[in-house]
Symmetry: C3
Subunit: 403 residues, 3 copies
């Protein structure tokens, strides 16, 4: 089982040389880093899973579209875990290995299910690649298991079963990253689905985590606060000797989630608040900062949409997202301000084919570190300050196939 | 399904310190880069494929013998595409994702099918790893589909069905490489197979593509044109400010193909002409250059060859290839002159096992960039000019198993 | 088929800042390199294997927990070979590709079968990752095949069938590494299992290999023999011009193995002697050195161990290992002194789940190259000599699942 997502982006206007950190196909030939792309394989996932005996459900998911030091489309693990089931009811489970950290509904929802092309920055910045290495206890009563399955069967794009209640310990540096300090992150989540007499299903959840995170630093281009001159600088993890942030900076959040499943009209909204390591550009120091942000999404599900010989499903949607925070997992944990609108249409032509088109109006920070503090005469690109805000519009198209 | 190729090369004479860019097992302990090898896993491919529903044929092929920054035998994508079939006849298809670019017969033929150990440089230099990210339309009438299948079933080493007619758009920098400029390559191909009354099958094709390619540059060792002294240099992409080749240099070709399938005697020949980015060593500039080259191969298929308890197929072959051009996808797009003879024997012991032995007489350019402009006293290797021609002979052996 | 091992280590006492080269989860926040970890995926293996036709058994095993230049959990080959069977009895086989080198019983035993979490250093230092690229002939009479299978079926943790007699040629630089010199390593092994009238099974073996190995060098921190000052240095491969060790240094060993399978009490012991490339820190030269070392392990197999609803197998074990040698495959081939005790318990809850806990008393060399010849004021870590001995105790826990 698996899925592959191929994307193509057309810039429609606004600032030039922009980057969307979560999608390298957005941008033009003046963009930073891996500049403009035409076609991009965003995800190529193959899933090896099954039950073995009475006590094990295993799940191994490599992504074949990962990158390692400039080499693209390398296979890298996303998930590799086993659910140790206490008994056949699967009410109590302990999940050990690398898996999604139970924080946020959209984070837990598979990218193959999500309407929007990327997750919202506000909650997704909580856990790098949504995953970490750890041990998680999940409690799911059988009636909640049944309702979760019903949501899925109706094609309502559920998050998957991450327990009605979850409690876990994990390394805290994110998927496929080495642990840096000698302590754990702890996370907990409670989510509850219910169905009204009309058949309408709702779900509401609350989640929180706490730990200490060690940011990655690198040279970036900033304007000297005193002279105003552009220069390359590398931030420090806190101040003093030894550095106050050497073993991590407070990383803690609480978030709420609400979903009214699209039967046919639906609403999905999440918000979170917390503290995080973040870069203070003026001081050139990464220190404890506060954050808040989330999104609201409305969608409408049209079944039996017929076109030529196809009989599919059409889901128009609109999403607004806001973030006033920092992306700890990007180099230098830069400040990230987002105020984006997305107007999209997902067309499931057949169970095996999905075409999504999104008009995306971006008003956000460029999180890619360019470190171009002086102009490059040869390739005619001027010097640039890093981590600036930009406004741009793009038409983004994705073809996904499932197998 | 998949296959694994293990190779072993013995140098029989000629110049020392040579490299064959397409096979790291060729060379000795004075060769450049990843010098001499004894055993080498050249390809280890596992294919995940199938039809899903009425509209999708998917195909994902990682290679487990790829390298990333000095680490060998890493898994990297070769193919990851979906064929969106208009209907069940598969006459019209759109292929989206990373796949082979329909340019050349030998390029499209699977390495598990090819008689010679490597493809000819002249046509293979058109597309890095034969593949790119894009969208391709394929048109194959049902009678042509049937003839393609017949060729395959008779064990005549077909290219696979890449349409009777093909038209596609792709990024243009080659498989697993980031797009560099904001434009597409466009490619088209027409191939037509026919069968005479005697049952002899022929195929003839024509193909062309056009785009702009951005070369990769790196330090190399050259003789200063004025003083004759060896020194390290890095070429520029064109001239002027901004560099004239910053967003790519013309990359366009047209090629013809002819195949008389081995029933039992066969001939296969291809040739192509075009323009390409190429390094002018004297000027130390990469600029638009012209190229031409191809190959002629004759083979004879002996069925039911019995040896001990095996009943297999034996195919002796001879191949001559010529190239007067440049390999754009290698670092610095160096000039490449090839005039090689190969005399080989493929023995299919059983469907699962193939042993190939080739006497290879090389007269070609060493495309590996050594950048050794001064002698290394410690390891006793002298300074060397890069991209020189060499002559050498080798006995190359390959064991391939299919599963 | 496959297995995944997730580990978690708690340091119980002894020196700080230690590293166990074979397990990155051992250590604390003062450890060198990839310092302390909490959770670690040690192995994530997926095996693609089968018989195809009468002459081929194929076996491809990628590991999804490999690292490439700082990127973790990348897929990399462990095995990729085909057994060419002379006939259906499989008495005579030639194995071509990357596979385990037949040297040592514990080396050949799958990590999914081994009681101790890591292999003994003395024999495991013979072949990097136990594997290399080559061609190996295996001879296994049918009665020995039958006894090998019986050992396996009884759950006695056999090595797998690497022939009663083995003879092979291989590159010699270890798995996934490029060959460096133009010669082969040659290896041979003879192992013989027998069963007494009481049903007790024994196995004894002898093995040897010979070749020349080219070490990898890098900067390390050493105390200047004259002044006693800490400084960074990079060793040379032998002495003179050209360097005497440029094409390799003698690498040759002979080893013996004895196993009394646990029915229920068992003993397993191996020892080896030989010559190896090794670093002389005083001279700062890698040269020919001698080595010897091995281990003795005793275990007791308790079947039908019942706990709650499980009915499993419990195997307590004790292992002592000793090594007075060098680890050629680590950077700079440093000296390695080991005198370790392990007291462990493997609990197979079910065929699909194994939990192992080991109390490990380490007295050994830190083989990780830190190259920290001056103190790091910012992160408060002092300067350190590399390759020093340490003593420490740890509680190591592993959950393995098989599928």
């Amino acid at each position: 089982r698996g899925y592959v997502q191929t994307r193509n982006t057309t810039m429609l206007g606004g600032d030039e040389g922009v980057n969307l950190w979560s999608d390298r196909s957005v941008g033009d030939d003046k963009s930073l880093g891996d500049a403009d792309k035409n076609f991009l394989i965003r995800r190529a996932r193959v899933i090896i899973f099954g039950d073995y005996g009475d006590h094990l459900s295993y799940y191994i998911q490599p992504d074949f579209a990962s990158s390692a030091s400039g080499t693209n489309n390398i296979a890298q693990l996303r998930d590799a875990y086993g659910d140790v089931n206490f008994d056949k009811t699967k009410v109590h489970r302990i999940r050990v290995g690398q898996s999604k950290v139970p924080y946020g509904f959209e984070n837990l929802q598979s990218s193959s299910n999500r309407l929007a092309l990327d997750r919202n920055d506000a909650l997704n910045s909580a856990v790098r690649d949504e995953r970490d290495l750890g041990a998680f206890y999940y409690y799911t009563p059988t009636d909640v298991q049944a309702l979760f399955e019903e949501i899925n069967k109706q094609g309502l794009k559920h998050s998957g079963n991450y327990g009605m209640f979850a409690l876990g310990l994990y390394n805290g540096q994110g998927a496929n990253r080495a642990e840096q300090n000698d302590n754990y992150h702890v996370v907990s989540r409670l989510t509850y689905p219910w169905k009204t007499q009309s058949g309408q299903i709702y779900e509401a959840g609350i989640q929180a985590y706490k730990g200490e995170y060690v940011s990655t630093t690198g040279a970036y281009s900033r304007r000297n606060p005193a002279t105003g001159a552009l220069a390359s600088a590398t931030p420090t993890l806190g101040t003093g000797t030894p550095l106050s942030g050497r073993n991590g900076i407070d990383d803690e959040r609480v978030g709420i989630s609400f979903i009214m499943y699209p039967q046919p009209f639906g609403i999905q909204a999440e918000w979170n608040w917390g503290n995080t390591p973040g870069l203070d550009i003026t001081k050139n120091v990464i220190e404890k900062k506060s954050l808040n942000g989330g999104y609201v999404q409305a969608m409408y599900k049209i079944d039996n949409f017929q076109f030529l010989s196809t009989n599919g499903t059409l889901i128009p949607f609109i999403k607004w997202q806001y973030f006033d925070g920092y992306n700890k997992a990007e180099t230098n944990s830069p400040e990230n301000h987002v105020n984006d609108w997305e107007l999209g249409l997902e067309w499931q032509l057949a169970p095996e084919l999905e075409l999504t088109a999104v008009y995306h109006r971006m008003n956000r920070t460029n999180l890619v570190t360019g470190n171009r503090s002086s102009a490059s005469a040869a390739n005619n690109l001027p010097a640039r300050v890093d981590y600036e805000n930009f406004k741009a519009e793009a038409l983004r198209v994705q073809l996904q196939y499932n197998f």
